[in-house]
Symmetry: D3
Subunit: 169 residues, 6 copies
């Protein structure tokens, strides 16, 4: 994966610490990167900004310092709206979201905090806000992924690169 | 991935429904299977049974019908102890675990329900129970993985293959 | 109560451990058995299966190993549907219940987890699902009884007879 | 049970509304009264005041208006200390309890709010505070009983006799 | 503030212990008294009784012994209804409130227990129950004030004057 | 209070929106400002930075967008450490605090989320970390104040001045 790290360095100017953390084992790094890239950068009915908004809303629920820092910066960058990133870190209900994005984050937060209570009625609310069943899969997969990453980061005291803090303020 | 499904059929006698659910998109199926196989079947200081015990304890906290059914069966099989599988489904504190496995599941359940509160003291407790830092990574990665899978399964109403129910009773 | 134990032995093939636990004092055993038999086996607008379903849904909320084991077996037996017993143990929302039984278990779980919040609106929902006021009493009394039994069992580390695990799989 | 009601009227000056509520069915009234009298008035290593203190601490956790009113009055009467009754209604930690009674109520409140987490360590704390295993049974049985009664009372909107409010102020 | 204490003594017959607690620093006492008097005794669309009802409902949520005792007495006095004071201490849902006061206390309790979830829909419910936007400010300010006072009282083990217990029974 | 607003404008370059919100009534504005200035700027054994750290830790627990924004900026400014402000917003446990400040924030968060459970043992922990009883009062008063302000801000949808977002990054 040295080539991948080189690519991060060239494109971002740094290698995200999460990748350094996984790099002790090449198989683990590769499966993590493959899943991340597919979910966050691959084809989807959700924009990249929307996927990052989900990442931050989930990480706020789980109070994950690493992911709030890294993905908060991504929301600020993709949206060109520094306040939006802060609002989703602090309380997504404070953001002035349109109906689609509000429904998306309400679902993300319920699936994070009460996964046992998610049922057909919740999916129906997403459909009424304009999401397809494939979109619902993608929302769920991103919610799931950050519920995984938040826990790996907290459990191993992963620390975000300092550079994120100043990005897109 | 048709070859992989064939292999499942030959080895298990069926294709787990979770794989069928992911199969609408080959990239998603491959990354899921790669991560699953590395975590649950790859080299680790944790036995395969221990990894399945974590899967069930996490899924019990999240009340995930799919994962409790499939991985509860795995605990019954790997341990040769049908009661152990039931106990971890219902309340892992009811199982008569040795100190190592109890510490492992206490950590798994705290990381599931209060990820924000996991700190050095929690890792220290695992070390005192005999786990290395690499083991702590593996525990955390399995906890993370099932916090992801539980949510994808609940969000999409995934249903376990009926065959699991009767296995290893 | 020796005659009663004999009757259990003849009818069930064993004496449930809960009875053995109460048997240190005849008055306590008698009042427990009298209340149990009236509630679970006496006349009611609820079928015996429905009363056992409530027992399991309540015990799942309280994560009571004894009661989930013994009454999970009873749901499997009365319903002739092994999956139903497992589903209510794990997450009753995963069971495909009709409107009546879903309303009944929703009420049971709310009364278990937030008894302070149960009000006329909750009773009204039961009535709209077809229950009479007498039925509501019976549901409430069974919910209450298992909120008692779950706590006595957990507080005294009561262990279910091993035989339950294999019943009606 | 008419004789029993007569006895209540003679001794207390009124028939507690809970008995009136159960009186629609003689079998239910009899089993309730038999269990209540055994637990709250029968032989025990716990004083009657201590059993009433448990009743109030449990009912405060469940915010049961009926039981807090009726048993709050009982604590005021048995203790001759009106403040003690109020304190346990409001927050038992505010009462200046000796070590034995504090351990007893800590156990009662944990068994009420997290029955799944009660284990040998909790019983051990009671033993260190001077309780025998029989006492632990009695504490648990009273905790269980009020977790039942609180729910039957809330579910059926049971209202306490007005007379309790003014007693032993 | 000696004159103010004299006024309390003359009017109430005692100096509330909360004032004695703040009296170690004149500036702190004065700002506390000024805010209290403005909020609880100043002009408002809420009656003094309604403001005391909010005080008690909030303090019940926070289980504050001092405030439940002092303001429970105030509800009994202002309402001339001893039961109402007890009901709001125990569980405000048990009181037979009109629509306006029920909406007011529902809002107060939600703002106390889940301040992050209060949104326009919650304010809308208050408006539909007849409250103006200025009333909503006053409700919120009283809720806020007792969320402050409850914590100062609990943190410093403040004890209510004994005289409150017997008032207006 | 026009003079005070003028002073804010001269000193800060803007009038904090919270003051504008209170300005509809001079008495309310004055009591709020007086209490705020005494608590946050007056003499205390706590530094101004420490009082702001408490403000942010409490506001994070209550997920208050206004207070996290305004006081997060204050922590960044007073500490000269932009990361510290972010960490306390996200999860104060992620900050590398010394023993004194960690004990202070642990107390603040417990008093915020479980005020009913704060007892002598909690105060004792603060004393062992070097705090006097007067310091404990000041910590509690600041915790109380922000539990008030968070709720007034959330209840009235108060929005922070945009300028805070870019300060001291």
């Amino acid at each position: 994966m040295a080539a991948y790290f080189k690519k991060c360095q060239d494109k971002l100017g740094f290698v995200p610490n999460v990748l350094a953390a996984y790099a002790f084992d090449n198989a683990k790094l590769e499966t993590f990167v493959a899943m991340y890239n597919d979910l966050m950068l691959g084809d989807s009915g959700l924009s990249k900004l929307e996927r990052e908004m989900i990442a931050v809303a989930v990480s706020s629920q789980n109070r994950c310092y690493y992911c709030l820092t890294a993905h908060g910066a991504a929301v600020r960058q993709y949206s060109g709206n520094p306040l939006l990133g802060e609002q989703i870190v602090m309380n997504y209900r404070a953001a002035r979201l349109d109906r689609r994005q509000r429904a998306m984050l309400d679902f993300a937060v319920k699936l994070t905090s009460q996964p046992w209570g998610v049922e057909e009625g919740d999916r129906e609310r997403l459909r009424r806000a304009g999401f397809t069943d494939r979109d619902i899969w993608d929302i769920s997969a991103v919610v799931g992924f950050f519920n995984m990453s938040n826990r790996v980061a907290s459990a191993t005291d992963m620390r975000p690169n300092t550079v994120y803090h100043g990005q897109a303020r």
